[in-house]
Symmetry: C2
Subunit: 407 residues, 2 copies
């Protein structure tokens, strides 16, 4: 067993979230991901919360990568980047379409230098179409992509999804594209370009909402927390917090009446005996159920529901997720440790491969931590040449981080 | 150029959403995906809306696949499946952990038949850990996975994400795992097992919510539609519908005051002149802005905002997304056409590969449409053998679909 992507060198120009989220997946599987940052760093390094002055936002999407500072506003920086492209397998960026072309670093330029290069571009709206130049923030894409229109309280306002879901979905589709391109290259030796738009990703995730709109006779609105066609299947308040139950078949309904709410007479009651009737009389049903659920803690109800095999779950807050026994058993919270900022806990790796598993081997880098190391390794430069580049403001090193062990 | 996955045969036992969503991605890139259904069919064939009695829910995650009916409750059905595994590259399932093992079809069984086989298991909570046997519905996983706790109106109840996001994220991670396993196999010839839990997928998408919980001093709650650290950056109501704006820097603030709300005197006003001040006095700011936005239609505001380069977007409903010029330009709504149910529009392919692009070549199958075709093709069976299998209830054909052209 060896890391899946151990021979893959990624030149990672991505910033903030969508791009870094996708290249972090490659890093988790052993790719040599070189984060190339401008002298001021990826701008999400300024987003908190901070630990020892370092951004934990940055850490949560850049672990496993190394950082070098390269000034792409200098022609020598551009030339240096091109030399790196000769040695690399993947170039990943999430600039607005056109930026890389203006630097002379578009896919058409880079494939001349290295025809095996795989070029991944993640953007808000994609590299084609009338909106290709429109600037994208996650919330703008969420708004335009339709997901907000079906999220939220049933009679309320369209609602943003908590995590930056358009960045994340865009990042995941980019990761699939990258693995597809690597697979194709392993068969043919050819590189190619991957163009993923966050907006397109959201359209794909709408899946059955599209057919409901076109063939269901109505435009779907916010769904609230209630299942559209099963009842009772929604969130309820216990004495301490919210939880969800799903009574999805007649057997579960009987168990629910008899063992959970202790009202066996309701099983065959005319208002409730079928799912259809329960949907029709849901308000009445909830008037009976809700006060009962408020009498005990969520954990007590869930233990009881689980013991009867009725699908259910607590609406965990993030602290509860982090401490959840299943999350721990699946190693979905992992530790990273850096001399400059210490131990940081991050989300783990959700792709469990039996033969070539992922592993978090390295914390997120501080800005420019590996500039020299990478120039020596990739371009066989010596200390003198690197010092000259630093003095000409082409590269920089992380000299202000005392805690980093000397390279 | 040829389809990326043209030589890949997928035996697809998945049902409903998470598994089918991942194998549909492979089908979009040319894999030969054989959907193996029980005599009653994938249960999501009973979910509407229906067109000519066929489920459009089913169609939206099964296009590009062929369907055969195989009864895995008969020993001859099991034996037949094993013969198919000899010829296949991928087996994909999303049963509860343990089901395939009890059928004698777990990964350990199948790799003895075909060591190159790649086995993908997508489940609610994964194949390890204390909750591995717990039954999972998307909303239960959304509840337990933390995403609901940070979605919803700021002072309201935790809220379900509209699309079945835990199914979708689980499906996307499974697709990445499948491409990783194919890549590894292309280098070494070895198959392996991929174990993806929908819950793990959601934990990974929490990304910076985890560090905000651990290092930010508070457990995040529902975020509403307001950006936590930029203002004004939220949703507003126009005279006709909601839209989103993001005023993210001093230049945009000046343009906003001068050209959008026509109040240049506000640019340097003490209450609003910096982002920090605007955040602090957001309520006052919104009392000024909101009535102004209600005076015109969203499209008018957005045209004006776009012309000034201020990030913005309409909160599109699904019908608006389907008709959006950018969505059309990106081919994100595609047509499929089936003799039994006609033309159906579905979400397109968000991974745009320059050399080996995806393509929707085939509509979703009706149940058992390709049983004979597949048995002939994969196992070189003749009509007689197939008829015998049908008579012994091992296989079935789609004989009730008059409209399907004879095989």
């Amino acid at each position: 067993m060896f890391p899946l992507l151990k021979d893959i060198i990624v030149l990672d120009l991505t910033v903030a979230l969508s791009g870094p989220f996708s290249t972090q997946i490659l890093a988790d599987f052993g790719a040599n991901v070189i984060k190339i940052e401008p002298p001021a760093g990826d701008f999400c390094r300024t987003w908190g919360p901070f630990v020892n002055k370092e951004s934990t936002f940055f850490m949560s999407c850049n672990r496993g990568k190394r950082s070098m500072i390269l000034n792409l506003k200098s022609s020598e920086g551009i030339a240096l980047f091109k030399r790196m492209v000769e040695k690399a397998d993947i170039v990943s960026e999430n600039y607005r379409p056109g930026v890389m072309e203006r630097l002379g670093l578009g896919y058409d330029d880079l494939k001349k230098i290295n025809p095996r290069i795989i070029y991944s571009a993640t953007s808000g709206f994609g590299h084609t179409g009338p909106l290709k130049n429109k600037s994208a923030y996650d919330m703008v894409v969420q708004a335009m992509g339709g997901i907000m229109s079906i999220t939220g309280p049933e009679t309320g306002e369209p609602t943003r999804v908590g995590p930056s879901i358009s960045d994340i979905i865009g990042g995941l589709y980019s990761a699939i594209g990258l693995m597809m391109a690597l697979y194709h290259r392993s068969l043919t030796g050819e590189g190619q370009m991957i163009d993923v738009a966050m907006m397109d990703g959201l359209v794909a995730t709408l899946e059955n909402a599209i057919v409901r709109t076109l063939y269901g006779g109505a435009i779907p609105g916010p769904v609230g927390n209630r299942h559209a066609s099963i009842a009772p299947f929604e969130s309820y308040m216990a004495s301490d917090q919210y939880f969800v139950i799903a009574v999805a078949n007649p057997k579960q309904w009987a168990l629910f009446c008899e063992c959970i709410i202790n009202k066996p007479e309701m099983i065959d009651e005319d208002r409730f005996r079928t799912n259809e009737l329960r949907l029709k009389n849901l308000q009445t049903l909830n008037e009976i159920i809700k006060p009962i659920f408020r009498t005990r803690k969520a954990d007590e109800w869930l233990e009881l529901l689980d013991s009867k095999g009725i699908p259910c779950g607590k609406i965990n807050n993030i602290a509860q997720v982090i401490d959840h026994p299943q999350v721990k058993a699946r190693e979905m919270i992992v530790d990273t440790n850096h001399p400059a900022y210490g131990l940081i806990k991050l989300a783990g790796i959700p792709i469990k491969l039996s033969l070539t598993p992922g592993k978090v081997t390295r914390p997120a880098p501080v800005l420019g931590e590996h500039t020299s190391e990478i120039l020596k390794e990739l371009l066989s430069m010596n200390e003198e040449e690197i010092t000259r580049l630093v003095h000409s403001n082409v590269c920089s090193r992380a000299e202000n981080h005392e805690a980093i062990p000397k390279e």
